[in-house]
Symmetry: C2
């Protein structure tokens, strides 16, 4: 038996062309399961959240692999930007757009854009300036002005994934929509900014080039948004016209998934910002397409998108955790531990200052435009906005790997130090700032509705995140049919006082022109459940 088994084994390992990749895959899937179960067990914990759990599990696994492999390699996969930008990020951002409360988002649209676009530019400028000032003193001298600006862009990218987990859409709707909306716009801005900085000859700056730069930025922003909106509308139109609901839940769901992904890949194809595109595609799909499908499609898409996003988020944190012990780069640093600590410290300080430099002034600006005092952003809320956006995550990692390595490797000392510093900043900010966010919110904003002990133990988990997004805590059936009818709520009622006339005009336009063409709530006959072809034919 042994001889033939061995022979069979050999043949099958030939057949399975790369058995090592199966081993990695296995480990990742098993760890993901572990993260979910652990995350569930730690759900009631007031400090932890899913991201930090995944990050810690990833770190521990990295250490074990490092020890098993004899200090040679700690990771099964080298951090790959392609994997991250093409496969992992789109579902997260799409789901964010799909589940965001559109009213809140659009009511605060101007503030969000101010924070997301202008704020990121300010943050980038502050960090770049600080880096130019301090790095020479620390002893990093091989970097040029382009590198310093790139560092500004890298560390201006907040981690919208982690941010989502510390704020609760139901309990702090204003803060949630501001911080979350800013995060999405910020992701897009940072990537666009990073790419733009890479391509300009920064030694010959003149006003004309600066104007080009701004024009380009606005052009990218506008076209990306339009592409997302158009793809979303196209999906709504196709599903409404062909009326897939009559036939197939699975076809509808498949078409929604594929068209959402198509919007992202099309944006990448035309060198636009896929993040912005897929975010607006998600918003349009939830506003029109989602209402054109059968009820089982609605339940399925809601939960399937949320699950996909949840798995992807967990995967990213696991991956970042496992990749943190990048021994190749840490070897360069081990000779000069002081330098690395100094750089990480400077970067963390600059992140804190850079964010403060725009949150408080821009909040002041935004408050100037609001007549109703209850709509203004209070100082305590400003502190939370500042703090909740301090985490740096996978976007920063991906940009840093892109800038300072080629295909994941580098042999330049300063580049290796920049990679390890980025890893340090990401780990430190996610863990320390992330852990302290929940207690900080509890301190600054004592909730009137619930006891302070329970009201903020929930928000950290994807469960409560998603359920609050989905209104899952209400009557689920009623909610499914009328997802936007909200309960009266103190803070919310104040916020929904009709100040934004733009929104009012939009509703009129929507009802008169858009919904009759693209469907939407109230414009599609009620389809109770699965297809009822029998009764039709």
């Amino acid at each position: 038996m042994e001889a033939s088994s061995a022979a069979l084994l050999r043949a099958q390992s030939l057949f399975m062309s790369d058995h090592q990749s199966v081993v990695s895959l296995n480990l990742f899937v098993a760890l993901l399961c572990g993260c979910i179960v652990t995350g569930h067990l730690l759900e009631e914990n007031r400090w932890m959240n899913e991201s930090i759990t995944a990050l810690l599990i990833g770190l521990c696994t990295g250490i074990i692999i490092l020890l098993v492999s004899g200090m040679k390699s700690s990771h099964l996969l080298v951090f790959s930007e392609d994997l991250f930008f093409i496969y992992l990020l789109p579902p997260i951002i799409f789901n964010a757009g799909f589940q965001v409360k559109k009213k809140q988002f659009f009511r605060n649209f101007s503030t969000i854009m101010l924070f997301g676009a202008v704020g990121t530019l300010i943050s980038c400028a502050v960090i770049s300036l600080g880096v130019i000032l301090f790095f020479k003193k620390i002893g990093i001298d091989s970097l040029d002005i382009g590198d310093f600006l790139a560092i500004g862009a890298i560390f201006a990218a907040t981690d919208s994934v982690c941010t989502l987990q510390v704020l609760n859409q139901d309990e702090t709707p204003l803060l949630y929509s501001l911080v979350f909306g800013e995060g999405v716009v910020n992701d897009a801005t940072s990537v666009v900014l990073f790419n733009a900085l890479q391509s300009f000859d920064l030694n010959h700056m003149d006003p004309k080039i600066t104007l080009h730069f701004i024009g380009n930025f606005l052009y990218l922003f506008f076209t990306s948004t339009m592409l997302g909106v158009l793809t979303g509308l196209l999906s709504a139109y196709i599903i409404k016209k062909l009326y897939f609901g009559r036939h197939s839940t699975d076809r509808e769901v498949a078409l929604m998934i594929l068209m959402a992904y198509l919007s992202y890949t099309m944006a990448e194809l035309f060198y636009l910002s896929g993040i912005l595109t897929v975010f607006f595609c998600g918003i349009v799909m939830s506003h029109y397409t989602w209402h054109n499908v059968t009820e089982s499609s609605r339940v399925t898409t809601k939960h399937a998108f949320a699950t996909l996003s949840f798995i992807t988020e967990t995967f990213i944190f696991l991956y970042v955790g496992m990749d943190a012990l990048d021994i190749e780069k840490w070897r360069f640093v081990s000779n000069r531990p002081g330098t690395s600590i100094a750089i990480s410290g400077v970067l963390l300080a600059l992140v804190l200052v850079g964010r403060a430099a725009f949150v408080f002034p821009l909040s002041f600006l935004s408050n100037l435009g609001k007549k109703n005092p209850s709509e203004r952003i209070s100082f305590r809320q400003q502190v939370i906005i500042w703090w909740a956006g301090l985490m740096r995550g996978a976007v920063s990692m991906a940009l840093a790997y892109n800038k300072f390595t080629s295909a994941g490797h580098t042999h330049v000392r300063d580049n290796a130090i920049m990679i390890t510093s980025t890893i340090t900043v990401v780990l430190f900010s996610t863990m320390v700032f992330g852990l302290m966010t929940k207690p900080l919110i509890r301190l600054l904003l004592p909730q009137p509705k619930h006891g302070a002990g329970t009201s903020f133990s929930d928000p950290s988990t994807p469960k409560s995140l998603v359920n609050s997004l989905l209104g899952g805590e209400r009557d689920s059936e009623g909610e499914l049919l009328l997802p936007e009818i909200s309960r009266p709520d103190g803070l919310r009622a104040l916020l929904t006082t009709p100040t934004s006339t733009v929104h009012c005009y939009w509703r009129k336009f929507d009802d008169a022109f858009m919904r009759p063409v693209f469907g939407g709530r109230g414009f599609v006959p009620f389809v109770p459940g699965s297809p009822t072809r029998r009764s039709e034919s």
Copy 2:
């Protein structure tokens, strides 16, 4: 503006390390959307089905790419076994196990195993013998006995994906469960057989090696099944114990998806048959795990798995269609078109004969064991079973590429001819045999219930397939809670007469020991919808 745009474009194409892959991805996603819409429009067509549509769209795209690229290359991706076996096949087979009607499947278990395992061996033997007899005469002389046996295994693999689309579980439950069950077991058998044949020194056959071979085969079969069952039970136990339903629909769905995939990768890790493992994992999950989750999780998993399987199937046919014009191999053939046609003809004939050689004798054997005449397989049904399993698909393609190319390329003439012949057989059998299956069934089995005109225009589409699997045409709410209570039905009522005492004992064992531990219908408190934490705390 132009200068800076161009610079930005350059930089972004650097950033996007492989823009060509984005183009391919875009094209694939767009074509998938096209396939779904076209498939929907052709739904009422009595000949077409989704597979053939996707295959034709793929072929047309291949031709266009071939013309655009100046006859250089027709495909964006070379057919990759890894992609197929690691990512595309598992969701299809898992969904098949998840949605199969378990009663029918287990009632016909012995017949299915007879067809799937013994039948595949007979078919393989017949095809190998035929190939040995005819190929020398045609002028293929560089192949040895191992190659001939491999050809037998390659063409013994029926295409369970396409088979699913031509039969209807509600209208022909016996035929469906036989042909479909056989297809799954056959897939596993062919792959195991192919691998086993690759590893044996076939020039020194003796009885001992044959015994080893059979022992190995049984061992693989048993361990693969057990691994799937155990993973499924583990998922049921975890979800029941931790009671995720109280907390998070998304966590439950994520855990089900990940554990299902884990079972597959673990099987691959231990060199078992992942196909069998994931199939039985699907069966166990639908029997236990599915009943332990919230109702929204149930709706989501049902439709999400079906959608995933649907997208993957469409992708495979598109991919096979696009890959059919593999110009590198067709060049070898173009010198001797007669040989290629002769080989394809011989192979098609052998496929027909090989399948006939086991369907009719084994049906006779199976009928001998049945006391009740209504349970026997009539001659007309035997003809349909024979015909519905004639299609060859992606499994054959993947095995042929594995055997006759290295990394998708070959420079040996006979090997190239074998690849093109495989492509010809796959295309011909899917299109011609596939197209003729629906009319054949209508001819041989006039349905008593419906008019002949409407009853068989439905079954071809994934919609009707999935809905019938899900019982989607019944009251969806009631169905969700009690999915196995079926309507009385002429043919079905006869089939459900309690002849199988094994099934009866199993039910008793299940109720007494399994369900109390692992949950399942009736053993988990009813969870009406989304989590109700508020009411608990």
